[in-house]
């Protein structure tokens, strides 16, 4: 897993846990194009009214992750997605995370506003305590949310990271696909097996099913992290090394402030 610097503007349009396809991000554009081809492969021919030389229609937004088939409950083999085997995606799947340090002023009021921003753009509150609040916002509105929060107060520190989980995602997908194939084979064997073999097969089937469920859970978590960006706002000073290690040699400077001023005698 690696972290990469966030782009200047954050892409939008994400649905279903996969990176969107803004014009400014080639990786996403590539994904969009592939999605379009997937959609075309699955789509019915239509009525043929579109001329051959007419421009292609706008790519539809992916409504669900493109390569992960829905788990089946009846043990039947899931319908394999058209591109899962032959054309693995080269998609940048990024988890955006922002951390803001705001000055400690009117904290309760500002926390309420941060929470309000989260709700107003389709996000939700994740964690809130005396000094810190974490909201999760739809990825396509991540930039908008950050902009609104930054206007609330004096931003002492800002950090945005984009963690690329493409490898992790693809690895899980492949392993899940293989595990499902094994499960299908075991189920086929089970149907034909005698009593003695059936016990062994069922044991193995249980192990494989458990593994599939774990991988599905991890994929779901990854999709959620990709779909909803995390913004943490902390209301506390930033102890920078510059100030701590290179304190100006003027004692009166340390004596300034509200605590000295208001401590009358």
């Amino acid at each position: 897993m690696k972290s990469v610097a966030a782009p200047a503007s954050y892409p939008g349009g994400m649905t279903g846990g996969v990176a969107p396809a803004p014009a400014s991000t080639p990786a996403f554009a590539q994904y969009s194009a592939e999605t379009e081809s997937v959609a075309s492969a699955d789509a019915p021919e239509g009525d043929g009214r579109v001329a051959d030389n007419s421009p292609p229609p706008a790519p539809p937004r992916p409504s669900s992750p493109p390569v992960v088939p829905a788990p089946t409950t009846n043990g039947a083999p899931p319908k394999a997605p058209p591109t899962a085997t032959d054309a693995p995606h080269v998609v940048s799947m990024l988890i955006y995370t922002a951390t803001l340090n705001l000055a400690v002023f009117q904290v309760t009021e500002q926390m309420d506003k941060v929470e309000g921003i989260g709700h107003s753009i389709g996000g939700y509150l994740a964690v809130r305590n005396d000094q810190q609040i974490t909201i999760r916002v739809p990825r396509e509105r991540f930039d908008e949310a950050l902009g609104q929060i930054e206007k609330l107060g004096d931003v002492l520190h800002r950090s945005v990271t984009a963690e690329d989980v493409t490898d992790q995602f693809m690895d899980l997908e492949v392993r899940l696909k293989n595990a499902r194939a094994v499960r299908d084979q075991l189920q086929a064997l089970l149907a034909k097996a005698g009593v003695k073999d059936a016990l062994e097969i069922e044991k193995e089937l249980g192990r494989v099913t458990e593994s599939i469920e774990q991988m599905e859970g991890r994929l779901k978590l990854l999709r959620d992290k990709i779909a909803f960006s995390t913004i943490t706002v902390t209301f506390q000073p930033v102890e920078t090394q510059t100030v701590r290690d290179t304190t100006l040699p003027f004692p009166w400077l340390q004596d300034l402030g509200l605590s000295s001023l208001l401590n009358v005698h």
């Binding site: 002023f105 009117q106 904290v107 004096d154 000073p237 300034l256 509200l258 208001l262 009358v264």
Partner: protein, 173 residues
Amino acid sequence: MNKKTLLAALALLSLATAACGRPFDVKTAPGFIELDDQAPSYDYRAMTPEGVVFAVRAVDVDDKGDIAFWARAITLRFRQSNGYALVDTKDIESRDKTPGKELDFGHDESGKPFTYRVRLYRAQSRLFIAEAGGTKEQMERYKDTVDWMLSSVRVKCGSIVAPVLASHTCNKW
């Protein structure tokens, strides 16, 4: 000028010089009382019954650092180390037209919002720091009075005696 007049003038001058021993002038507004014996941290401090405090201090900096330097140093200290919010900053002038800088900070103390205004001037090889602070509510209530006191600060000697007394011992006020 006869001898009596000269003596009277000298007496007045010495009286003025020794009047308060501060290298600046500040007026205490109605609603504030001046506090005694605030040295060494403060050269002047006054407060309201509600706890809004106004103070002035003169720090000997030996001509080191201009206003921009000290404004930056104070801002860094408050923002980065103490988490104060820099609400506003602007260029200002003292009553005697000395250019300076005003910094407005906000900070929560025990969960309560406080505001803190600092004005900086450089004169007489010193850095003059005028401060006012209190709860946000009380500072808003006393805003006009605090502004009046801030505007009353003079950090230079008068033009007549300036050539003679514009020094570390300038106690004209």
